[in-house]
Amino acid sequence: METSSSTYMKGGSFLLQETDATEIFTPEDFNEQHHMIAQTTDDFIEKEILPHIHEIDEQQEGLSVSLMKKVGKIGLLSIDVPEEYGGMGLDKTSSMLVAEHVGKSGSWAVTFSAHTGIGTLPIVYFGTEEQKKKYLPKLGSGEWISSYSLSEPGSGSDALAARTTATLSADGKFYTLNGTKMWLTNAGFADVYITFAKIDGEKFSAFIVEKGFPGVSTAPEEKKLGIKGSSTRQLLLDNAKVPAENLLGEIGRGHIIAFNILNVGRFKLGASVIGAAKKTITEAVVYAKARKQFNQPIAQFGLIKQKLADMAILTYVGESMVYRTAGLIDHILESVDKKSPEASKKTLKGIEEYAIECSIIKVMCSETLDFVVDEAVQIYGGYGYSEEYPVARAYRDSRINRIFEGTNEINRLLISVMLLKRSMKGELGLLTAAQQLANDLLSMPSSGNGEPEGIFASEQKMIANAKKIAVMTSGAAAQKYMDKLTDEQEVLAHISDIVMEVYAMESVLLRVKKHYASDDKPNELYVNIVRTFVNDAMARVEIYSRGILSAIAEGDMLRTYLTVLKRLMKYEPLNTVITKRAIADALIEKDRYDL
């Protein structure tokens, strides 16, 4: 494996290269502004939002909107809006930090992120000068609230199958839109809807639709499982009259807008759920210390400690991935001249470079939060089932994250499909690496060159082996199914599962190596987190790879693969009872998630 030498890491290349710990960006590398932005966001959420969380959930008239206007005053709605249009135009790390701290506010976080993300970014990146001038200052300040309408009753994951139509009037002055859009977050109070429709029933395009345009209305509120405080409605377009200049982007290129905006949304979602997870862990720790059964705090029971440790490890790992990726994106965006007319295009291209990482973050972090809230309810026992305590709401609010911004199934498929596609195009050497590896593994008894050294020697070797397993399984699958591979979703998803574990293991290891594992005085807590996660992740990698291999091979071939797998899976198991107790003890001592 080679070490990265180019000025930036290519997306997905973590699978084939080794990264030096000094190269990755981590939360420990935040600068003073980042800390201040995080603090101001946190103060706002703690003082202005959390005390009203019940009223927000009851959709008290006007409340969410007034809070949006209030947060707009301190600039949090305009981080991604360029300075020319009254915004802050800050880096993605700042944007992620705000998403993380807002993330603990449940429903309101969804209101916030729909507005600042899918509601505003399409205009930032695809708007004409006039559109930007007209809408961005209003959206950045919170004077107007935005909403995004891609989904329809009949088309969700298959968004391009939308049925809503747009027809240009004979004089070319306006489009007439007809159709029903589904699931618009913020629809109840939005002033603007970024709406997708097919011109002449075929050319998928986007429009900026205003609330007051003739023929535009919304249906009653959906009754939802969670995030009850966010508004979700249908948008009804009944001969809606939209001025021709409100076409957003190019005719027939709506999918470019939809897909690009999703990339950003996905990794912001990752940051947001990490914020929610930290809050829930803190609540669980405090509760577990206070609740006594059998004459002792339940926090002293091994099974409760195990839960707390698992919750914290996954959250810490998720956070490591989120900010590593933010750093990658910021690095690539630094070279974009914000003043150039090509700025938007280049920015999107920069983000798209890491589309694989964005999907990884979306899937892993949303599943982490679901795990965290589920175990939190369990730690609270019966009280977790009661509305009197905060975890019941957290449990309900978490679930949506696996569904929107592309379901986790769609994102899982995307990860391996994108990897393979980039390899076919020659952008990533995955398939050549697979070929190479196949030769090496059959001829050599063990991987010889450059054994890792230092405190994480064995973990680094495990990760290197996991990468080989990812390469081996995807190479084997590509060879077996060729262009029919997309039909083998189960195999693709498992390849993605392995790839995700690799990114997760490596991100947390590099972070800790960079900051807490200087050879003279490694910090035991963080070293334990790495060792424990890598140990557990490898066990999962083994299950996934067995699943793949037994689906694609049989007989001697399968036995050969399994022999190789066994060799790559050789590592000394860790006593995770001890490490997890120690990690839980650290949380208990600190009284909160503070890693």
């Binding site: 003073e32 005053k73 301190i74 600039g75 305009s78």
Partner: protein, 248 residues
Amino acid sequence: MKILVFVNHVPDTETKVKVGADGKLIDPTGVNFMLNPYDELAVEEALRTREKFTGEVVVASLGGDSNKETLRKSLAMGCDKAVLLKDASVRDSFAVAGALADYAKEYGAEIIFFGKQSIDYDGAQVGGLVAEMLGLPSVSVVVKLEIKDGNIVAEREIEGGHEIVHTKLPAVIIAQKGLNDPRYPSLKGIMDAKRKPIEEKTIAAVESRVEVVEMRKPAAKAQGKIIGTDASAAAELVRLLHEEAKVI
């Protein structure tokens, strides 16, 4: 108007503090620090005063380099200029006040804002001491402030009610909760703060008059005891309060 506000950098109320190895100071490792909440009220009032009368707000803090974080936050809230009175030694309130008074005089402040107390040592002395040293009038625990034509009408919180006092500029105003609702540093404020100067000044050493000889945590509270859950427990409760706790 030349407006001066003094701020302190104190342990975050959420962090758990430990007594340090010398038994006299807290152990700062792993402790987050923040702008003292009462001083935040003082900063806000200083900014509002500037918004009314124009002029500048200088924020100053005495301490080590880490105090810059709190100064930076004050700048992000909108103060114009920051001054770090650099001193790493341990000082009592009197010695602190001496250094602050020197700076206030040098700057020529027309109004000086303080918070009621620092939530670290809770001395609640510095504002009053500075006023005395400068020979200025001071009003403490202020919950409402009006300034007009150099006259000050301030409302103070006193036991069971409020007191309204009149005085004149220049003066020292010491803020209590309720005076205002401090603003959040805006993103613009945060980015602007990066470009605002923090001036460092060395200050003369002075001897403290009060020395901390020992610092310790209060003893853990004993477990409560449930004697019974109905009226029949009353007699036993009375007996215990009388004989064991000896409070009745």
